[in-house]
């Protein structure tokens, strides 16, 4: 299979509400930064993949048309990939496949959401069957909280363990220049914060953000001109049936499948030892605990212990979300691509204040839909 590398990445200065730019202006900011990082211009880009969350998050339909105009993508192939919260990684996979297939030498992936414009939980509730459950939906939060409660009882994912995730990610976000939530908090603050959908409390929840991320992927040939590319060593995005018989809500089946496939591609047999840095997409703190297990960083039921051990702290042996993860900023459609961009920056040695020293192998995770879409990627400073 042809090698594919990340040549450049760019992020916006995320905010609760960016009133200085329109949606396309926001996305353009990330694109210009990625082009600058890769030392390229739009003339060098062969193909564009646009990613955003569920369309009702914004009031513009077919936004890729609007966006293509603003970045000079006219007369280039443009497709839009929409796959819920994980859409950024699904889009990156589409780009990887375009390069692998020889269709394009360099592909620009843009992922964004301007969540300040719409009614978030209401529009997420429209993911439910209109006949069957929509009237009871509490966005994705009611559902996520319900299965956290189950995992709490069955796997020991306690409120305290989740609170430690929040404290860790908030603290890490202080170092991230693109994050907009900059607040040091304690476990007690999280436990005492307002219950929204118990067990989910206010400080278990990431912010609602306006933001965009752009990543430029290229062939081995294109990477020759790049000083320090991050090589894609494995990438997968899997789906499970949303209301099939005996669907397991305790361990995510598509995450397990995606991780197994990607580890095989990347030659990883012991992720805890072989991976240097991890970025997971944690829409709520409870998911980070669940992903520790799904990604094989610890055994099933071992997440709370792993969290308490300090191993996933920025100075631990398997740092998770040194960027602050979603707690620093959560522009949903962009979030998965941000996770990929962050691990790319780590293995390129460009992660600034939260650089993990000597990081060579990075693991990114993404998820979307009704928790039924899960993606995993491994990047490395070495081609393999």
């Amino acid at each position: 299979m042809r090698n594919v590398a990340i040549l450049g990445v760019g992020q916006t200065n995320h905010a609760r509400r960016r009133t200085d730019v329109s949606t396309i202006g926001l996305s353009r900011e990330a694109v210009l930064r990625a082009l600058e990082d890769a030392d390229l211009t739009m003339d060098d880009i062969d193909s564009v993949v646009v990613c955003s969350g569920p369309v009702l998050f914004a009031a513009v339909n077919q936004p890729e048309k609007w966006l293509a105009d603003a970045i000079g993508a006219r007369n280039k192939p443009v497709v839009r990939v929409t796959s819920g919260g994980g859409t950024g990684l699904a889009g990156a996979l589409a780009a990887v496949n375009q390069v692998r297939a020889g269709h394009a030498n360099r592909v620009l992936v843009i992922a964004y959401d301007k969540l300040s414009e719409g009614a978030l939980q209401y529009s997420i509730s429209t993911l439910y069957d209109p006949f069957w459950g929509r009237e009871f939906a509490v966005g994705i939060m009611g559902f996520s909280a319900a299965y956290w409660k189950s995992r709490m009882d069955l796997l020991g994912h306690s409120e305290e363990a989740a609170a430690m995730v929040s404290v860790k990610n908030h603290k890490n976000a202080l170092l991230n220049p693109y994050a907009h939530v900059k607040k040091e908090i304690t476990v007690e603050d999280v436990l005492n914060s307002k219950p929204l959908c118990w067990p989910i409390k206010l400080l278990d929840v990431p912010p609602i953000s306006d933001g965009a991320c752009a990543v430029i992927l290229g062939s081995e040939d294109a990477a020759k001109k790049s000083e320090n590319p991050a090589w894609i060593r494995g990438m997968a995005y899997y789906c499970e049936a949303e209301n099939a018989a005996y669907r397991s809500m305790i361990q995510s089946e598509p995450l397990t499948i995606a991780a197994a496939k990607v580890y095989r591609q990347a030659g990883i047999t012991n992720p805890r030892r072989q991976v240097d840095v991890v970025e997971v997409q944690e829409p709520y703190t409870c998911f980070e605990l669940s992903y520790y297990e799904g990604l094989g960083l610890c055994p099933s039921g071992g997440a709370a212990e792993l969290m308490a051990s300090g191993a996933t702290q920025i100075d631990g042996d398997i740092p998770v979300n040194p960027s602050g993860g979603c707690m620093g900023a959560n522009p949903i459609g962009a979030t998965a691509l941000i996770r990929l961009a962050e691990v790319a920056q780590q293995v390129r040695g460009k992660a600034g204040a939260y650089q993990i020293e000597g990081a060579k192998v990075g693991l990114a995770q993404a998820g979307g839909g009704w928790a039924n879409l899960r993606g995993v990627a491994v990047v490395s400073s070495e081609k393999g």
Binding site: T19, A146, K149, S150
Partner: protein
């Protein structure tokens, strides 16, 4: 599968649903300035710093080359029609304003037969507007035979742009029940009974009933009654308030696996002191449907008021 309906929901029945979403759009600088300028009877364009094209309405970025647009141009109010159509009772035209490199879409005030391509037109301004700083602050265009060809000039005034604009989407849908949902909701309303469909291969009973099993991809072959009681698989206590919410917090969101089925049903858990939900509810406990009085059942999941814990 063969369907016989006991009441009103037939094969061609539809569920009429509406999604009403409020938005606060962010205009960006150029559009925000353009809209305020219209209130002052000024039509603003911009020039691309890269390809020098003159774009109307003013936009932040050039659609031709992706360049940044710089400065504002005050456009003449005159131009020529380049395209025309009639939708319902309104005539829409594309107008090539004198000096512009792109056509502007707006309403033509006049008869369709007079809106010839190439005809000269001029801006028509409203006497008053309901809401300021909208595209409707320009009423449209009307014929201006033999009008002189104008030209753009740099805009030297100052305009404080708007940055946000309220907006609403009201979406009406007609969802088809299809063969299985019609029967299922009929059973709810008529017999206060919940049905699923059985997979011909794995024999799991799937609720709501469906044509194919999601796991085996084998056809389902039988409707099966399932119990209106089952196991509480997950729950959360809702205090969150949000736009579009159909229940008043606090309440309990629950997912129930009904006895005799293999899938999850989303509903509310109630009938107990909600302030003690954390102590009363346990994962795996038995819950049972509390039905509304039969004459109030309408063939929706709301015919069940909630699921109530069963204490043994």
């Amino acid at each position: 599968m063969n369907n016989t309906f006991t009441s009103g929901i037939g094969d061609d029945a539809v569920l009429e649903a509406q999604i009403n979403l409020p938005y606060t759009l962010t205009t960006g600088k150029a559009a925000g300035t353009f809209l305020v300028a219209l209130d002052q009877k000024i039509i603003l364009g911009t020039t691309c710093e890269k390809c020098q094209k003159v774009i109307v309405p003013a936009t932040d970025y050039c659609g031709a080359c992706g360049g940044q647009n710089v400065g504002f141009l005050e456009m003449p109010h005159s131009g020529a029609i380049t395209a025309v159509t009639k939708v319902d009772d309104k005539v829409f035209i594309f107008v090539h304003l004198d000096g512009a490199d792109i056509d502007l879409l707006h309403i033509f005030h006049g008869d369709l037969s007079t809106a010839k391509v190439g005809a000269r037109v001029t801006a028509k301004w409203p006497e008053s507007v309901e809401v300021a700083s909208r595209i409707t602050s320009l009423d449209g265009f009307e014929l201006a035979k033999d009008s002189a060809v104008g030209s753009s000039k740099p805009f030297t005034g100052t305009i404080e742009p708007i940055s946000e604009m309220p907006y609403k989407l009201s979406l009406n849908y007609k969802h088809s029940y299809g063969p299985h949902y019609g029967r299922m909701f009929d059973e709810l309303a008529t017999n206060q009974r919940i049905i699923g469909s059985r997979c011909s291969a794995c024999h799991n009973v799937l609720v709501p009933p469906r044509e194919y099993c999601d796991i085996c991809y084998a056809q389902t072959d039988l409707y099966k009654d399932v119990s209106d009681a089952g196991k509480l698989q997950a729950f959360s206590i809702i205090n969150l308030e949000f736009v579009g919410q159909t229940r008043t917090p606090p309440y309990v969101y629950g997912e129930v696996v009904l006895d005799g089925s293999a899938t999850r049903l989303i509903h509310n858990i109630g009938g107990f002191d909600i302030t003690k939900a954390k102590e009363i509810l346990t994962i795996g406990m038995q819950v049972k449907a509390v039905w509304r009085p039969k004459d109030q059942c309408k063939g929706t999941l709301d015919d069940i008021e909630y699921f109530q814990p069963v204490f043994e």
